[in-house]
Point group: C2
Chain length 152, copies 2
DNA sequence: TGACTCATGTCAGGATTCTGACATAGATTG
DNA sequence: CAATCTATGTCAGAATCCTGACATGAGTCA
């Protein structure tokens, strides 16, 4: 049924290909994360906290590409399960700095191994130079997209 | 608050960058599509039908990276609004081949212009050679990811 | 021919996410 | 110092999407 006969235009669209890669990567990550009782958003949140301790809810949301509201319910779950801690009262302003607990750090380690294996597999067909070039080009694309629609 | 001081590891992850580009691209597309009363999934569906007329619900779902169920409700809406047509009964098997109406084709044309402008902007900082190289590398990544987790 | 497998369309239910809105704290500006 | 603006955390509601399940039709194979 899936005859990719005529070379259609979508096959030449970088935007479509980007979505394809992103989708495949997410699927692969979910697969290796599921046995660990984790998903991509959870992992992203933990990884962000490991690299930048004390991040606020809003900052975590931006880093994981979800809304503040969604990240908040995730953080409540992570806090309830003992993976992260937040002070009961904001030390300054309304920002509640979040930190990983030893349990959270331990859980993240396993997940990081799994995720890294996926990324290694994804890049297995590319040389170091090709990886660097792709990285640079993707970064340029982001910059071009952002400068086009500056909100304020 | 957003001090990107220490060069953290996420800044070097191609997977994270991929998600960043994909997110920025989707946001940009939604922005230019909204004034036309359309969204990315709708556009993807119409574009797929323009390039491969007669596609089934399941095939459209795979092409737009959603489930059959989600695509079905979208198709019902598109059919109700007169953008696509489906035979009342399946000519063969259970597959209902979907086709664009003149109205659907007309609506797609405007959307295509808008979307293409976004893609052009995204690629404005890259030479033809760099675009081709990125395309080739992304395709390799997909292949590597897929061969890792072959279902059956 | 009959059993088996696979894919499709569809229904119901639940889970997840987002949009909209509010009060509050800090920064900015006159 | 007072007014304004921006950003944060949070609440409620709605919209979206997915998971699970079912019956049906086509292809395969003994």
């Amino acid at each position: 049924m899936s005859q990719d006969g005529a070379g259609v235009d979508l096959d030449k669209s970088l935007g479509y290909l980007l979505k394809e890669v992103s989708s495949a990567l997410r699927t692969a990550m979910e697969e290796v994360l599921r046995p660990l009782g984790m998903n991509v958003t959870r992992y992203s949140c933990l990884e962000l906290l490991a690299q930048r301790p004390g991040l606020s809810n809003s900052e975590l949301a931006r880093g994981a590409f979800v809304t503040r509201q969604s990240m908040n319910v995730l953080l409540q779950a992570l806090e309830r399960e003992g993976y992260v801690t937040r002070p009961a009262e904001a030390p300054v302003g309304k920002v509640l700095p979040t930190r990983l607990t030893p349990l959270g750090r331990q859980s993240l380690e396993k997940a990081t191994v799994a995720v890294r294996s996926v990324e290694v597999r994804m890049l297995s067909g590319l040389t170091e130079t090709e990886q660097a070039g792709t990285f640079r080009n993707l970064r340029r694309m982001i910059d071009s997209l952002r400068e086009g629609s500056e909100g304020s």
